[in-house]
Amino acid sequence: MKKKILTAMMTIMAMSAAILGGCGDSGKDVYTIGISQFAVHGSLDNCREGFLAGLAEEGFVEGENLKVDYVNAQADTGTSAMTADNFVTKKVDLICAIATPAAMTAYNSTMDTDIPVIYTAVSDPVEAGLANADGTPVGNITGTSDALAVDAQLQMIREILPDAKKIGIIYTTSEANSISTVAAYEEAAGNYGFEIVTTGVTSLSEVPLAAADMVKKVDCITNLTDNTVVTALQSVLEEAGKANIPVFGSEVEQVKAGCVASMGLEYFELGRQTGKMAAMVLRGEAKASEMEYEIITEPSLYVNYAAAEKLGLELPRRYATDAYQSFEEIIVE
């Protein structure tokens, strides 16, 4: 009985896919997509480039069979909403939304249409109301999350510092992403034998003070993608240097600037992974409404040998081959 139902369902699905494919996109010569990026930001730009690269690898090449309409909302939700409405008016084949507010406005604008939305750089799709708790989409929308790989990072710190007990985190109390990431760290820390010590700040000027106090209490510091703290990264590194404790980063730029290592996100990779999802949707192989959102499967390891040497730290030997990218000097821009 069950088998029969299953067969029937599969037949229906195959038929609908064929119908959709037939009347829909697969016959098109040129596809049009709209990219709605929320703000000008290094990581988000990398994401967009990765996205286009991912599409290109799947045969959708900009300028050949792909027309790309790119709008940057300059961190204005009103413009972001209008961008999405504009794409709906133009009846694009797909909208790529980069960063949470862009994804939310895109979903809102396409709700009554059949335009699929593929998002990226959304830290928490569930909290943003774009996915159900089990990862399935709430509508014709899916994509990738840039949630930090908390477990991988903790594992890496344990590997580098076998005797460390306390990890310090400085974060801005108004940044929602930071708050949820801190919670994730606190939850996972026990599994690796760590205790998390946190200090909240509200402005840039408080970071050096918080860092000076923090280094006395902990064995190392790990960073989030917290905008305020990252801006004041040099003062954190300086205080940590005085106390001779390492600072771990959360993305490549931080490692380049003097953090010892990070299991971080490569936003280009994230974008590429998203581009491949978009390609599947464009080809009609899958529907955004049926794809679970993805997180980056393999976080990338970044190491800075110069920073490690300054602290007299020895990094595991396999890092020489495992690292996605390694630096021999500290580059402060």
Binding site: Q74, A75, T89, T105, E127, L130
Partner: protein
Amino acid sequence: MALILSVLEQGMIYGILALGVYITYKILDFPDLTVDGSFPFGAALTVRLITMGLPPVVTLPAAFLGGALAGACTGLIHVKLKVRDLLSGIIMMTALYTINLWVAGAGYVAIFNQDTIFENGVVNGVFPGAAGRVKTAAVIFLITLLSKLLLDWYMSTKSGLLLRAVGDNDTIVTSLGVDKGLVKIVGLSIANGLVSLGGCIYAQQQRSFEISIGTGAVVIGLASVIMGTSLFRKVTAPRVTSSVVIGSVLYKGCVALAMFAGIDANAIKLITAVLFLIILVISMDRRKNPGGGLT
């Protein structure tokens, strides 16, 4: 079509905000930056109330009252603690940032699947099927019209007349035996109540709250007021509020046009600023000429 509707919807929502800015900027002559905080405050209150399961209609008066309270705080800081007008607004705007996070519970909150003032049994019953496309615009139009009419009515009352007097010449308000500080507080309350109401509708139209939606709200409000009042210069009393709303729709229209024309998004803000300056200079709507006609 979707874009035109979008311009109308956003234009009218920001039109309500612009009515508030009109009160502070044009009537009270008070550069009120509270707006950047009270607009998202209305939105934060709204998503909180809606996720609590309250009927969406409740959010409208709640947001107005919440915004009015915020405006009153700015007024109290300015009047009672004698802090300069600009700084009072900045203080309140800063405080509201944190308050907004508390109220909403997070930097962004989605209400995609909840009932809103646009998405409920009654509205869907009135606009069945294909008419549903315009229901959002229709509901916004209704609320904006109502806000405008209520404001027009208020401005024609004794209290409203006094509000106009305090911005025009606050000495006379004292001469009339009224505490001019109190009148300013009332004005700021009404203004920020309207701004917050705008935020409330915006959150429901976007079906989400985002902490940064207030950034630049005061600029959009000012641009709308100045565009509206300069383009329809010879207009008085009740019709000036209409011009302000129209100004807001035009402003949003310009942004959409620039975007549709494919102007580099990075340049839009600069173009907006230049456009703003040109309109300002042409209309000669700078400071009021002090003293005015001593002959």
